[in-house]
Symmetry: C2
Subunit: 338 residues, 2 copies
DNA sequence: GTTTAATACTAGAACGTTCTAGTACTGATT
DNA sequence: AATCAGTACTAGAACGTTCTAGTATTAAAC
């Protein structure tokens, strides 16, 4: 019971050294696995540590070392896509860095989130899917190396890891066109990262196929709710398109929801395509055809970049990953009568 | 550009004191808003801090103070319900504690997650929805006050904040019975927190209404995928029940998905009820009737408990919150012909 | 004009580590 | 027998704060 520890501090290196009958320096060497201790001593110290319940104080360690060995990660807790990326970040250990999470929640913006990370002297910060204006990103960049994930930004000094949104959206749009669809609606992602590029890519691809007049862009968002609203709006306005592309899988799921509610079948009546290949894509009412972003790889690269930037082995740049089409059941050839 | 800071350390209190022309003690007093400095000095120091870009080093602060002022939070990143709780935890500031997040991801279990929190000398740990056996919880409890959220455990010294799962599931089951349903399937949550209690509550409630022979419990889980699988199994086995209750909203969403895929209508053919009132409940194909757990309140209470336990103002106990039925569109009276 | 009380300020010792610069010992090399 | 190289170990100064115990300075009280 912790009751027995009430008020007691946890044992320090000094107490460990005492228990093991050696100097704190030696105990320290053993605890961090540095060279300079005999095997016998190592064993003795480790046993003493075990027996007194010694646990190194990370604050003191970090303070004393010249570098904190910390990479900060700022992400939106409620965003499943971010959660996937965070999971991926933990996959790659062994670069000598620990991760410190900074949660963005409503009312706690990027600056608020990053401040504690900087106060812990994180050596680099991975910022996931932030909509922050470039000027403010620049200000952060002045304090610490910054890796921006899943968003494009052309500003010197800011490292970027992202998917080729333009290529991805082209893939999606051409998939639909290839299936014979002509009247295609695109549900936009508003201000969200990547939205502007995907929107433009949709328009450009439609234009390239001479379908500009059939291309409709509907205001949307990145949530199921916004997908639902946008689709309702489409349906309210009369003859629905034969295909709908959405900014991301969450919005696409909202599209599916609304179509089912309206009694339309997917893909028989309307084809739907998403973006991300999020977890929910598989379990949607109709398994979603979508553009796959490899979150594991993105996370891997992001961490590598952050570590490299912190150690000044890299110069900031842009890593663009190639997305691919994942065909499931929500898209099908346009029916001839349309 | 951070390039200009290459290799430069961030300014320390000593440099701040120098810049402001006072002692470090005084600069410290100003920076932490402690009494003992004149208004003029405060202004001068603050301006100096601003001008040299001083930012207190949290590691040093925490190390020096007798208490770290940290509460650790261990949660599953990929679990939306946990994300809601984490959001809630940030809502209540002003207790003098900062939150440190510990992410549980596949391959990184509770112990791995908690270790870094302890190394930062968190004064209490909030553990969300862990399935850890009591013995191991006890071991953690020996090191630090522990608040267990969304799970019942009867072990001295472990603080618990949970919803009344038994009452909640009774509410759900009786809602269905009250609508005239008799053949009701329950999709179980397996080993997940609360699952055992909800399962038993379902059985007991059915029994109390003389419906034991109509009560079916199907192995399931806490994800959409498992909801789908369980429902497929139900449909494969012949005459479907007129109502399905699921362990949580994610599983219930899977149920909806599978029912739609099978061409059944909700609630006309089958009523479905979930648990949690997660975000996805509203945007499900058919808006889910569900049992609402107030995550904001739970988070609020959990934080309060953690802070109180850390400061030794509370003795560990159990806080049980009352859930309520949220009626949406996925439940309706049983059709007479059933 | 001395005491008292309060306010503004400071020196310097912590906090729990790491790390540099050293000492003491061993065994091999000349 | 003296030198060297290597291994095992240690003393003690950092790291950047907070906090205790103080010293001046001023204002009020008699």
């Amino acid at each position: 019971m912790a009751g027995s520890r009430r008020g007691r501090q946890s044992p320090t290196l000094v107490e460990l050294a005492e228990a093991a009958g050696c100097s704190t320096s030696l105990a320290s060497i053993v605890m961090r696995g540095a060279p300079g201790a005999s095997d016998a001593t190592r064993k003795r110290v480790m046993e003493a540590a075990e027996s007194i319940g010694y646990r190194p104080d990370e604050r003191a360690r970090s303070l004393r070392r010249s570098s904190s060995g910390l990479i900060g990660v700022a992400y939106h807790v409620a965003e499943p896509f971010h959660a996937d990326l965070v999971e991926g970040l933990y996959g790659t250990e062994g670069d000598g860095f620990d991760l410190v999470l900074g949660a963005m929640v409503p009312g706690r913006d990027v600056e608020h989130t990053i401040e504690p990370l900087l106060r812990q002297r994180c050596e680099a910060i991975i910022l996931i899917g932030s909509m922050l204006p470039v000027a403010r990103l620049r200000r952060i960049r002045e304090e610490v190396p910054l890796v921006l994930v899943a968003r494009q930004v052309r500003a010197a000094g800011i490292d970027v890891v992202r998917t080729d949104d333009r290529g991805g959206q082209r893939l999606a749009t051409e998939h639909l066109i290839g299936l014979g669809h002509r009247a295609i609606a695109y549900i936009d992602g508003g201000q969200h990262p990547g939205a502007a590029i995907r929107r433009r890519s949709f328009r450009d691809t439609m234009a390239a196929h001479g379908l500009s007049d059939q291309a409709r862009v509907i205001p949307g968002g990145n949530t199921e709710e916004e997908g639902i609203r946008a689709t309702r709006r489409i349906l309210d306005e009369g003859e629905p398109p034969t295909a709908i592309a959405a900014f991301n899988d969450r919005a696409a799921t909202g599209v599916l929801t609304m179509l089912v509610r309206a009694g339309l079948r997917v893909p028989e009546d309307v084809s739907v395509i998403g973006f991300d290949d999020a977890r929910i894509a598989r379990t949607a009412v109709t398994p979603l055809t979508t553009i796959r972003q490899d979150t594991t790889l993105m996370a891997h690269v992001a961490r590598e970049r952050a570590a490299g930037l912190a150690r000044q082995r890299f110069v900031a740049g842009e890593q663009v990953l190639v997305p691919e089409l994942t065909e499931r059941e929500s898209t099908a050839p346009a029916r001839p009568d349309h």
